[in-house]
């Protein structure tokens, strides 16, 4: 009895329940559209686990999502909701693109410089919003959303500049120089089932997740950030400069999302195409962070889950199922996680009441 109560109190139980609900809602819609849910979900699974090469793709798809997930999770810990990860991701990839296209450098140095540019751009994008919040008291959710769209059109503007735009037309930028790519050399790719996009991204994501965990849990900075997140006024009373803490957190959060943009560009895309709609990596990062319960290490696993779903989703057209079912499942999961705390309160209250009666 005690153990069951323990499960009913845990975050993981409600997250798993939400994921289950997500798949149920997806199945209902598939069935309503005249598609056999078992067939579609079967394709989703075999599309990811069918071949070693496919599994590697799930990791490749997951890498940028882990970064945007870390970005959102980091901001959550300070009580900030970084809905601007999308824009920071875009300016990050744009900065990496500029360095990757315009400079000729030795391989390793070039990659490092691209990452640095992406982090700086993402941090800048987050810091402007932070300054507006701390200096002028402007709600960050609103300014984040505005900056997402400014980044969107900035990217479309920049890739159409003559020095960046693809030679000979096409609605995309030039490819980054090979020295800026993080895709493994062929010999290493063979180890990963010959996947032509096997890259450094996931390893970097794990490393950064560990660093973020250390920052949050083992440093003075992390302590300050968490203190502000728990209770801003108490933290200030305790001598923490909360404005500075918030600005630092929003800048780091932006840098993480920017790095995600760089990883996607340098490991997968090689170029940036003209956007017709937002790419969604930042918004998907919100889901990753929510499923992980804002734990940095958890983001690695929830990022892998989302990456696998996204990659598996691309195979759904083979069984004539729309891949948008992945968006529907993920949206349902977020909605259920958002309401699950009430469910938890209701259920645990009932359990306690029942316990008292008995």
């Amino acid at each position: 009895m005690v153990k069951r109560k323990g499960i009913l109190y845990s975050h993981a139980f409600y997250t798993l329940l939400s994921i289950l609900f997500g798949f149920i809602v997806g199945a209902v819609l598939l069935a309503a559209a005249g598609i056999n849910p078992a067939l579609a979900y079967g394709k989703l699974v075999s599309g990811v686990f069918g071949k070693y090469k496919y599994i590697v793709y799930a990791f490749v798809y997951a890498s940028p999502l882990i970064f945007t997930g870390l970005s959102v999770a980091f901001s959550f810990r300070t009580g900030i909701f970084n809905i601007g990860a999308e824009g920071q991701y875009v300016v990050g990839s744009l900065a990496a693109l500029a360095v990757g296209v315009l400079f000729e450098l030795p391989p390793v140095l070039h990659v490092i410089l691209c990452f640095a540019a992406a982090m700086a751009a993402g941090a800048l994008w987050g810091s402007i919003v932070a300054l507006m919040k701390t200096r002028k008291g402007i709600n960050e959710v609103l300014s984040y959303i505005m900056f997402n769209w400014i980044a969107f059109y900035l990217s479309n503007y920049v890739i159409n500049l003559t020095v960046i735009h693809k030679v000979g037309g096409g609605e995309a930028s030039r490819d980054i120089n090979p020295s800026a790519s993080i895709i493994f050399p062929e010999a290493v790719r063979d180890i990963f089932g010959g996947n032509k996009n096997a890259n450094l991204g996931f390893f970097l994501a794990v490393l950064v997740a560990v660093i973020v965990w250390v920052i949050i849990n083992k440093t003075t900075l992390g302590y300050k950030l968490r203190a502000v997140g728990f209770n801003n006024h108490a933290a200030q009373y305790g001598g923490i400069n909360s404005d500075r803490a918030v600005t630092t957190a929003m800048a780091i959060s932006g840098a993480l999302a920017g790095l995600g943009g760089a990883v996607q560009l340098m490991g997968m895309g090689n170029r940036i195409s003209q956007f017709s709609a937002q790419e969604g990596f930042g918004f998907q990062g919100i889901t990753v962070a929510l499923i992980a319960g804002s734990s940095p290490i958890g983001c690695i696993f929830s990022g892998l889950f989302y990456g696998a779903m996204k990659y598996g989703g691309t195979k759904l057209s083979m069984v004539d199922a729309p891949q948008e079912v992945v968006d529907i499942i993920m949206g349902t999961i977020i909605l259920f996680i958002a309401v699950s705390h009430v469910l938890r309160r209701v259920i645990t209250a009932k359990v306690e009441k029942g316990g008292r009666k008995a």
Binding site: G34, M146, W149, Y157, Q278, T287, A338, H341, V342
Partner: protein
């Protein structure tokens, strides 16, 4: 001079095409935000409205009926947002984010399911679109034809705006909804059902956003595409902030953003300024307005805070 007048007519025409979807959605956003519920799901609600409008018009051939159904589809997602935020006290921004995944996802999903895996819906017959007022009265290409021969729903939105203003400031319900956004606990003490008022407002916000989306597919364009709304819902929210959360302010802001879009349409044919830079204007203007003026203006005090009924 002559070309100036022609261009002016074209600009008015382009503004009357760009403004209504923003304004319908912005008026919806006013209801939700003023009653104390943040609704960033407006974008998703517009998308589902756009889809529903296009599909219903395609099958029934009745533009006005399709327009209304677009509103209903938006209202359905308004209801989902209301249940999550009001009854379940969910984080309103997270619930809105979920709506922005779900609604466009369902729209494209159903589009593919209905139309042979195509993410674009088939074109709506011209007769099934919303009619234009003053068509055939002025010679084609004349200033008056450009300026006045607009879709009826474009004129309707200004009537709706006036009604919303009246409801907000001249009726008992309007006073209550504004009070619920400022001090719900006091409202409850006076016997106002805060939940009911907020439910009505959030569902209305979905309905109006749905109408805005349906306007795009039934007037501006005649089919649904996945990228048909791109950001218009967020511009509508920006207009509401810019307009200090009042319907009359939001109307002016939407007109301003509509003129920006109109200029973009005219400029893109001449290629003088990059259309991408012009597209940025509404967002940059909103940021500047936030920094310079609105930062000090008051957001409804209880905005974004879940309300718990007294036991």
């Amino acid at each position: 001079m002559n070309s100036f007048i022609t261009n002016l007519g074209l600009l008015i025409n382009a503004t009357m095409i760009a403004t209504p979807p923003l304004l319908y959605a912005a008026l919806g956003s006013c209801f939700s935000e003023r009653s104390g519920v943040v609704n960033i799901g407006i974008e998703g609600m517009m998308t589902i409205g756009a889809f529903t409008g296009a599909v219903v018009a395609y099958y029934t051939g009745n533009g006005w009926f399709a327009f209304f159904c677009g509103g209903l589809a938006g209202a359905l997602f308004g209801l989902i947002h209301a249940v999550a935020c009001i009854s379940f006290q969910a984080d309103q921004t997270i619930s809105g984010t979920a709506i922005n995944f779900l609604a466009p996802g369902i729209a494209v999903f159903m589009c593919k399911a209905l139309f042979d895996n195509s993410s674009d819906s088939p074109a709506v017959d011209t007769a099934a679109k919303i009619p234009k007022l003053f068509s055939g009265i002025f010679p084609v290409g004349s200033f008056w034809n450009n300026a006045l021969n607009n879709y009826a729903a474009a004129y309707l939105v200004f009537v709706v705006a006036a009604i919303v203003w009246f409801v907000f400031f001249k009726t008992r319900f309007g006073m209550r909804l504004r009070a619920c956004g400022e001090h719900p606990r006091a409202c409850e003490t006076l016997g106002i059902d805060v939940f009911k008022v907020r439910y009505i407002c959030v569902i209305l916000s979905g309905f109006l956003a749905g109408l805005g989306g349906a306007y795009v597919t039934l007037a501006t364009v005649s089919q649904f595409r996945p990228s048909i709304i791109v950001g218009q819902g967020f511009i509508a929210i920006a207009a509401v902030i810019f307009g200090k959360f009042n319907p009359q302010g939001a109307t002016l802001a939407c007109l301003l953003f509509g003129v920006c879009t109109g200029l973009k349409t005219l400029a893109s044919s001449s290629n003088v300024v990059s259309p991408n830079l012009i597209s940025m204007i509404p967002y940059v203007v909103t940021i500047l307005a936030l920094i310079l003026f609105v930062g000090h203006a008051r957001v409804p005090a209880a905005n974004g805070k879940p309300f718990y009924k007294a036991q």
